[in-house]
């Protein structure tokens, strides 16, 4: 068994790989000692080789993992395995948003990633959902149901929150504000795609790909491009790491 573990900012994901396919996976909210938790999560597999990715990759490497790759490479490998035709990956996790360009072999040729702030990330959506008193799972569907196009101007999490609060206090219904929040994230993704360039098939991975409104809005903003969300988009990083574990462990 070869295992990939993705120690993200919000969740820990594990993928187990054997004989050329994913045979098991797990996902947990990350606690205080992510490396201990991750070690616990993979124990049952008795893996031959473990590759860690995500924010906690070096910590995991210090404690138990055999090697590390970045989330960028991990998502590229995971997507290339599931959707070999995709040459662009949008990955939005808890703390980062990334656009990755791949060649036909699935190798990274270019990427963009936010660095200084949480704008346009899963965390941004979470904070906005809390501010509008939505459980996270209801946030996207509620926004999708609204038909009112209003605009949030600020992409800074702190300023956007003030903007949302002032909208609430002007009496704007919350589903319209929710839609505006989603729109602003989708616009940011489009801008990142524009800077990197993109192919005809864009794969959307990371936890935010579970949000139907963001996916729909990205699709609506692009012409003649297919935007595909793989099954279990949150697991793509762990999957890529598991495939790398198999590669390094000698079993491709």
């Amino acid at each position: 068994m070869y295992v990939g573990v993705d120690l993200g900012s919000r969740t820990i994901k594990v993928a187990a790989w054997q004989d050329g396919r994913m045979v098991d996976h797990k996902l947990q909210e990350s606690g205080f000692e992510p490396h201990e938790q991750a070690r616990e999560m993979i124990k049952a597999y008795s893996p031959r080789h473990v590759i860690a990715t995500g924010y906690g990759r070096h910590l995991a490497h210090e404690h138990f993992a055999d090697g590390v790759i970045t989330e960028i490479k991990a998502h590229a490998m995971g997507i290339h395995t599931m959707l070999p035709e995709a040459t662009t990956v949008v990955d939005i996790g808890g703390q980062d948003s990334k656009v990755i360009a791949l060649n036909v072999k699935g190798q990274v040729t270019n990427f963009q990633m936010n660095d200084k702030c949480a704008a346009g990330t899963g965390r941004f959506l979470e904070i906005m959902a809390t501010s509008l008193a939505y459980p996270l799972g209801d946030f996207g569907p509620a926004a999708l149901a609204s038909e009112q196009e209003i605009q949030i101007n600020s992409m800074c999490t702190v300023f956007a929150e003030s903007e949302v609060i002032s909208m609430k206090n002007r009496g704007i219904p919350r589903q319209h504000i929710a839609r505006a929040v989603h729109s602003s994230v989708a616009d940011r993704i489009i801008a990142m795609l524009g800077r990197i360039g993109f192919g005809e098939l864009i794969a959307f991975s990371g936890g935010v790909a579970n949000n139907p409104c963001i996916v729909q809005m990205v699709r609506m903003r692009l012409e003649n491009v297919q935007v595909v969300v793989p099954e279990n988009p949150s697991l793509i990083g762990a999957l890529g790491a598991a495939i790398e574990a198999a590669r390094r462990g000698g079993q491709v």
Binding site: Y55, I69, T70, E71, I72, K73, Q95, D96, Q107, V108, T109, N110, F111, M113, N114, D115, K116
Partner: protein, 418 residues
């Protein structure tokens, strides 16, 4: 001594302690360093000690001590007048809060850091010097000089933004005004012999740095990028003749290392070139990330880097007018992004990439540095055209983005490795 210099001794002690800790972690922990680095390590140890005493001694002799922030300030003239030039501190997050009590937050971290060192009275260099010579390379700087002048005498040299005939004439006039100012402080008229001697000293210093840069381009490289950056930073503080001698001695050792095939860090480390804004002491953030990830930096296309030492000037002019014209032309070759157009820099980046044998370029800009941040677009386009792996990082001195930057740097190295 520190009390006499009107310093905030308690905070200064804390800063010194912190610098020592960071230096130990970043530098002294490196393996297999050249023995010649001991001199430069000691310069850091004496940064807030021996070097300050030397500056005080120079002042006792009536020699002016002038603080600068920019490679456009003609050091040759200061040296010719018997004065001392010191590049001022501006690379630390520690002094930024002092600056933000007065200056706007959304401006360049280097300007804030430097200003904060004076406002907080935590940099002995600021306390020692006779006056500061600022310039007009960016808006944040030129407006900050007005505020800084309330705390320390600050003169400003106007740097043109274009390279036309009228700009050259204006610059020559500025150089002459600078000379008059320095002479008025030193109380002595600068002669042509003084200028020739000072030019020789500066040429020798720049040649030593050129030699170091050429040697580090060897594959595998005999010295870490961090160590070379440190030397490039110390170039702005140290006595120039002694500094050149020490750099040359280190180069002798590096030649021997190359002959003996002693490499740092590992023979197959990815070779990265950095281009962009200066990394003022103690800004080692990017080098630390890149070399921490197993790669090695082999070139800094930056003011604290090749932009400072790539150009020499004629040492043998017959008269003052000619040597000042030569000096103006030499300084006009500096390809700072404050100029428009600035095609020379695009060519220079590509040239240094080829010379250094790098495998990729990281363009590094400080936040709110509009000219470098915008010029980055043209550097990126040139790299795309030439097929050079390229990444752009915009950052400041705070540690908050280190996690993301580490991911980006490692992903860039993975990309180069494939």
């Amino acid at each position: 001594m520190w009390k006499d210099l009107d310093m905030d001794v308690e905070r200064f002690d804390k800063m010194r302690l912190m610098l020592g800790e960071i230096f130990e972690k970043t530098y002294l922990s490196q393996k297999n360093r050249p023995a010649g680095m001991a001199y430069f390590d000691n310069m850091i140890a004496e940064l807030h000690g021996g070097r300050i005493k030397e500056l005080l001694a120079a002042k006792e002799e009536g020699r002016p001590v002038i603080g600068t922030f920019c490679v456009y300030i003609p050091e040759e003239i200061v040296l010719a007048a018997g004065g001392v030039c010191v590049g001022l501190c501006g690379g630390s997050q520690g002094s930024v809060p002092d600056a933000e009590k007065i200056l706007p937050r959304n401006i360049c971290p280097m300007v804030k850091s430097a200003f904060g060192f004076k406002a907080g009275r935590i940099c002995p260099y600021f306390q020692v010097l006779d006056f500061v010579y600022g310039e007009t390379t960016c808006d944040a700087k030129k407006k900050t000089w007005e505020i800084l002048d309330e705390m320390v005498p600050t003169h400003v040299m106007e740097i043109p933004q274009m390279k036309n005939q009228t700009d050259q004439e204006m610059w020559l006039a500025e150089v002459k005004a600078f000379k008059t100012k320095v002479e008025s402080f030193s109380g002595k008229e600068v002669t042509i012999e003084d200028m020739r001697r000072a030019t020789r000293t500066m040429n020798n210093k720049r040649k030593a740095l050129q030699r170091l840069n050429t040697l580090r381009h060897t594959n595998p490289t005999p010295i870490s990028g961090k160590d070379v950056l440190l030397i490039e930073q110390i170039a702005f503080y140290d006595e120039p003749i002694r500094f050149a001698r020490e750099v040359n001695e280190l180069c002798d050792e590096l030649e021997k290392r190359i002959a003996d095939n002693v490499a740092i860090p590992s023979k197959n480390a990815a070779r990265i070139m950095v281009a962009g804004v200066p990394m003022a002491l103690p800004n080692w953030k990017l080098h630390n990330l890149v070399e921490g990830a197993g790669a090695v930096i082999v070139n800094e296309e930056s003011c604290i880097g090749t932009r400072y030492y790539k150009d020499l000037m004629d040492e043998n002019a017959e008269d003052m007018e000619t040597i000042l014209q030569n000096l103006t032309s030499r300084y006009m070759q500096i390809d700072c992004s404050c100029f428009t157009p600035n095609n020379e820099r695009i060519d220079q980046v590509l040239r240094e990439y080829k010379e250094s044998g790098a495998q990729g370029i990281i363009h590094y800009s400080l936040q709110f540095c509009h000219t470098y941040n915008i010029e980055e677009i043209r550097i990126r386009q040139a790299c795309e055209r030439e097929g050079i792996p390229y990444m752009f990082i915009e950052s400041d001195y705070s540690p908050e983005d280190v996690g993301q930057l580490q991911t980006r740097v490692e992903a860039f190295l993975e990309q180069i490795g494939e």
